[in-house]
Amino acid sequence: MPRWTRFRKLFGLEPKGDVDAEIDFHVEMRIRELIDDGETPERARRRALQRFGDLDRTRRELMAINQRRRQRMDRAEFLTELKQDLGYAVRMMRRTPGFTAAALVTLALGIGVNSAIFSVVNGVLLESLPFRDAERLHVVQMLYPDGTRYTSLSAPDFMSVRAEARVFEQIEAIDQRNVTMLGAGEPREIEAAFVSGGLFDMLGFTIATGRSFRPEENKPGQSQVVVLGHGLWQGVFGGDPSVLGRSITSAGISYTIIGVAAPDASLPDAVEAYFPIEFGPTYDANTAQGRRGEFLTVLARAGTDANDATIDGDLKRIGAQLQSAFPDSNDGLTFTSRPLREFMIGDVRRPLYVLFGAVGFVLLVACVNVANLLLARGSARHGELSVRAAVGAGRARLIRQLVTESMLLGLIGGALGLGLAYWSTQALIAARPADLPRIDDIRLSTTVVMFTFGLSMVTSLIFGLVPALQVTNRHLLLGLQESGRGGGGGRRMHRLRSTLVVAEMALAVILLTGAGLLIRSFIALTQVNPGFQPGGAITLRVTLQGAEYATADQVRNRVDQLLTRVRELPQVTAVGVGSILPLGGLGALNDFAVEGAPPPPPDVNQEIAVAGASPDYFKAIGAPLIRGRVFTDLDQPKSPSVVLLNEAAAKKWFPNQDPIGRKVLSSSPTPREVVGIVGNVLQRTPGEPAVAQMFLPYAQRTGRTIRLIVRTNGDPMAMASAVREQVRALDPNLPLAEATPLADVVSRSVARPRFYTSLLTLFAAVALILSATGIFGVMSYAVAQQSKEIGIRMALGARAADVLRSVLGRAVGLAGLGVIAGIIAALGLGGFLRSQLFGVTIFDPATLGSVSAVLLLSAALASLLPATRAARIDPIRAFREV
């Protein structure tokens, strides 16, 4: 029926006819009057029309007024009805508090996890990076012959790229490292960025007080200035505005504080203070010196017309130039780049979207559950709805009322969900793996709130519309009584509810399979032999900087004193120092060659990870010596150069040969003798096999930042304060990092997989619980509806066990369908998870088997109560109730 007909009661006729009739009547009355006055009918008609004037214009004007009025009334009517519906909805919610609570909890869970994960996705992936022209920023990287990339450039290579590049408008560098800070409270180590002059300007990095760096402050001798990060200024200087002009001391040099960064100013990696890079002699595009000492992160802003191909072409051109100009250092090496955005968030995008998809499934399960609840309640409300239909409410009107009720549920659920999201976002941030990028950008922003609102509305439609359509079917509208319990309509409703349960079971299976695979991967990761003994040792970082440590000898002497003192502590079984920790990264990479060996094929990296280690380093970390000897106290700076190789290096450079006694060349013209082979120790994550690594005696490769590792046969953390005391006793000005158990490096290395795995497991558990509730609801309802049928069967001799078995069997049958559908879908979606898997494939029978078992079992458990209820049905009572 067309919409306007409902106004028939107001106008008597349709609007156009209404206006015409009114005007016709008027003209006719006028004609009659004129005839009465003695005019002829024709003249009377002419005069009447003449007097009326422009008939059409008046008609149009009247139509316009009526149109406007109708719209206003439509709106008013809509609002009145909405108010009615809302009032009604609130009454319904109050009358069935159990239903309301169940629906709201389900929705709050479903929407809440979505808002929480969306706030992470939005903050980390969607919001633009907090830099000027962020989408044009790139990271320039080294590209090695075997196709691997390295994110740092050497100083001369940086200067060459800076001088030669045509596609970039600006190229700047960051040298990020820890430095000691004296002159402000306790000596401390701070994360510092040494930057080239234009970096702040390029990134749009703002200074809150004071000034930024001047170009000449990169020149040697003029770099003794520092800009404090906002956090350091607040934390150490108490936000004191008079801090400008004061100075701090680092490595024996005094730096004048010239500025404080704005609170939201940041670099791609968070740091606490900013210094100008001092452009020493290697900052020269034409020098051959220092080309293979990579330590600068190089950021560049591409021109507006640059694209990936032109950028890559330009960098390759510069790479080729350097290869011919500096064959000794740059042979086989070239440059490439990655957009800064990809560089920062590239490796978390996939897992975050997987999590986002997972919570989408959780929400679908929640929707299905609430739809099921609504269907169950819909049958209970059949009488009420029939009455409303009988007094003239059309189907559309009833559907609108039901959908309004759903929307109200959805919106309240969404509001609760937002609360849950706020709380769980805080929990997420607290539990995040330390290296999740952009963690500070995760918050409940307006976007997140809008997302939640939209999601609530869409959700309401999803879970509200199907039940609304179903309970207002034609039986209701024709005023037909649903033909008793178990009749046609009831059976159809039951079939719909069963289908929904199968769907949510399938969704739960998908999530459980994903979670199961991640759990299996995580277990596999933690079972990888790390190559060292994480338990029973602590580690402590010490940085020796300042006037007392001007020469390597001074540093070495102090480290020797420290080792001697700590070794004498009770319960210490081994103490060593090294430049790196296991699972602490590759450290420095140097070129490598075996003396007398033919040059390796061009696609093999002639590079090796290099670390310094004291004699007891390997004993302290618990790594085995495979062959030969470890370092001794006789390996001194002046004694013959010696090295240890790990097994990977021995295998790579000395296949089927004995490396012991062979000479190797690496970043020094003096050959070094291989004296031993040590076992592979994990360097990056348990998922990445150890790469070739070479250890030099600490005495021959002395660094200022050392990792002290103390192994004890007592409680390792109890040692921490004793070790700190020894360091303090030697030099109270040494900044000391917190001592941590060596085992922490292991848990930190699997922090990301643990994060993803725990979240996905949590979501799968929520989905499992929801779907179990769903099957419980459907079976309870079925038993209640069929009590008569069951009664008859029992009267005919069925035993309680048969009834029990039949109900359980049906539940497990539904679950079985869900399992089959879910596994098929899970295998199809498995590809999204592949990059997160380790040591397990998506066709993992153990996972699929246990997921199926868990689901069938939970379905059986959930229907145990309805089944026992069915088995206790008293045939006599069942008949009486009919």
Binding site: D18, E22, I23, R32, G53, T58, E61, L62, I65, N66
Partner: protein
């Protein structure tokens, strides 16, 4: 009718319509006739002005329309004053009287000196 009719003042027509309906419901033609006769057609309210005014008053809720049978047994749209319209009529009548009194007082006032 030879003199040009004065332009009807804004709001005046509304007042006249409300007044016309104050004795009971009537259709648009009767309202038109009453205005013509009571003002000797001096205001020359054309139908092109009257009917939109009627519909606007209805839109504002001052009058209500319903279909009924006219004196000559024809279907006609009858307008009746609503409670809101009656209040409006009283208010506007009073305001008109004040206005007219003031203008007349000024017209009768002695000359400037």
């Amino acid at each position: 009718m030879n003199l040009p009719a004065p332009e009807i003042l804004r709001g005046t027509l509304d007042l006249l319509i409300l007044k016309a309906l104050s004795w009971g419901p009537s259709h648009g033609y009767a309202v038109a006739r009453w205005i013509e006769q009571s003002t000797n057609d001096a205001l020359a309210v054309g139908e092109g002005t009257l009917y939109p005014a009627l519909h606007r008053l209805e839109e504002r809720g001052w009058i209500a329309a319903s279909w009924g049978t006219s004196e000559n047994n024809r279907q006609a749209k009858f307008y009746a004053l609503t409670r809101k319209g009656r209040t409006q009529l009283r208010a506007e009548t009073a305001s008109w009287q004040r206005y007219a009194t003031a203008v007349f007082a000024a017209l009768d006032a002695p000359a400037l000196n």
